[in-house]
Symmetry: C2
Subunit: 117 residues, 2 copies
Amino acid sequence: MPDEPLYFQSHVFVCTNLRPAGHKRGCCAEKDSEKLRDYMKVRAKELGVKGTRINSAGCLDRCEYGPVLVIYPEGIWYSYHDRADIDEIIDTHLVKGERVERLLLQPQDRRRDRPDP
Amino acid sequence: MPDEPLYFQSHVFVCTNLRPAGHKRGCCAEKDSEKLRDYMKVRAKELGVKGTRINSAGCLDRCEYGPVLVIYPEGIWYSYHDRADIDEIIDTHLVKGERVERLLLQPQDRRRDRPDP
């Protein structure tokens, strides 16, 4: 449970890790995560979403499901692919406080070669 | 409140943002945050700390108090300066689940030029 008061009510971490081409796990950066992070920052600002910080993060270790982002303090992970997905995460999760069920990562979505984090 | 189950029981984000020399807000990278992040990762692994991920993050926007890190889902922020501080955060916060009071950032520790996040 979070300690109060939280500095950011929603803190979004968008993986922008870049690996060399051909790496067996892939990486989020090769799937446009940097551009989509930029879009998310701009769009959230345009919409006046308050108390939210959208950050870049290094490898979040769920590369196989990337691009991924995680939102705290809820600890909710999403796999997104385009601007429409980002729009839905902003509107449904950040604004309404609900979940975008179709984009949720599941607990069993773990790295396949080393299942325990 | 976090949704259960959490993928990582403790998710640490260490700011490693680098700004050009002389920037008025400074940056965490110029205060050795990359080396200290590396140390934290190695030391947590050596100690066998479970369920924890130590990540790099882009600018966390509390540069004036840097280097800073934040631990979720608790939403606890620390200002640290050396390996002894990192050791204490690992032992007290990550292992024992307590708080390192002397290193805590306070709610009023906001960026001075734009107080509302």
